[in-house]
Amino acid sequence: MATTERLYMRFSPFHRVVHFMLIVSFFGLVLTGIPLAFQDQDWARWLYALLGGYPTCGYIHRICAGMTFFSAFLHFAYCSFLVLSKGEGAKVLWGPESILLQPMDVKDILSDMKWLLGLGPRPAFDRWIYWEKFEYLSLLWGTMVMALTGFMLWFPTTFSIILPGWVMDMALIAHRYEAILAAAFVFTIHFIHTHLLPEKVPVDEAMFTGRVTEEEFLHERPRHYKRLEEAKLLNRYRVSPNPTLSLLSKIIAVPLLLIGLLLTSLMVSSLLVNLI
């Protein structure tokens, strides 16, 4: 069955490599950073010591931060290239191919609400579903906040040339809660939206293999499919299966999912314990 199924390329190797770099650096950042925010918990002390303690964790954290910046740089370089090349690529800023919010998304959100409440059919989405757009935009926003506040905490004496010392304390608070927000968001909402839905569990391989089946494509993004079909572009996206990548993606993604979920449950339980 799987051999006869048509596969389409959803993510180019570039997207997959950058996403993989983000995964590695994100996990490095979270694992070496989150213990600081939960310093009074035994699991945090254990985790911090496990990863080398001070100052090793700090070095890992900075190296991973560098990797995140590099991914961001690659992403923006790629986007600039697409926009400046003016071909099909210029559509990344506006229209159905764009990951930025469009007027169409308002309609999509409303019809999705209806579906969620059982009042209407499942809406037909285009290339990027509105919650994917939110996730993308919050990633951009989060990376900017984390980079700015992170640099302030890295070089406090340099920033205090122009800013009073307490701005660095504000940076620490922003860095901490943005981190908790980002980690918990990725490990719950992003994981559920992409990997843990009943139709995908345990892992949606699209971001690792780059491939989606025709059935998935039609089910999730019918408007995109039809747009490509009408423009007679669909065949350009046809690809052959890659079982090695598929297996690799399962081997890598499942442990990461488990680590993320475990860490979230530890964070949430610590929060509840502290409230009581």
Binding site: D40, A44, Y54, W131, S160, L197, P198, E199
Partner: protein, 321 residues
Amino acid sequence: MLRKGWVGIYRQAGLWVLPTLFFLLQGLATAQETSDCMECHGNPNKVGKVARIDHDTGEIKVVSMLVDEKAFLDSAHGRSKEKFTCIDCHGDLSGVYGEHDPLLKPVDCITFCHDDPAAEYQEGSHVEHMKEKEKRPPTCKECHMGVNSARETPVKDDKFHRAYINKNCGNCHEEYMYTYCTNLHGQLTSLGECSTEVANCSDCHGGHEILKSSEPDSMVGEKKIVETCSKCHAGADKNFVRHVAHPKFKRPELYKGILKALGERDIKKIALDPQSYLMLIFVAYMGIITFTFSSFGLHSLLMWFRILQEERKGEEGHGHH
């Protein structure tokens, strides 16, 4: 002859007997080495655990009389060039061999050896303040002693000692300990990093002479704070030291204070306090986090539920064909 004889006796006494007696008495004391004490105190068959009442706190503790000689030799006193022995501190045992009175006098650290920091300490505002409040100021031992062995006096930079100091200050200054742990220095200390790389209480506030921050001579006071921060942060300046070392955004006192100032229409007081801005960003993030997880969480849950529902119904087209 007779006279000569007496002179001889005096002479003998002056030249030999008295110095010998003196030497013997002195010798008794100085010849008493640590090893003499260790004969019993190093042998678990000869000494065991006994109950002791702490001279200062009145607490009853079960203390082992066994002495870890290695721990002593690694400690500040053991490492000293002066080669201290047991009786240098436990002076009432000088010249006493064999079994001795189980209740020794408290060790006097100050009179002969450490009178210098002691005077500074006893006249400092920390002790003064405690006396005013009719509280017993900590003794030398309470800060300078290790936990594992009551005989250990670790050196100042020792990690173990530094961890102990933080805990000790926190025992009384609970609120400050809590707010310290809200900041980066305290977070790292709390995670177990106790080396001199991360500032602990006494790195900023001093040891023997602790003055209130409002006093200009205090290490965290106006005059000296730049110097204090510069010990670790090269290039720290007037701007840098406006850092909030004890952020209170998780403490109810801060919110009460702000509400009170609001009630008095004292906006200036709120606006001039950096704690207010820390609180603002904290409250803003709590809002963002609550909103994000309640909206996206609900969305994910509903989606999960709906997909399961549709799968169960076995719908084919999902409505869009």
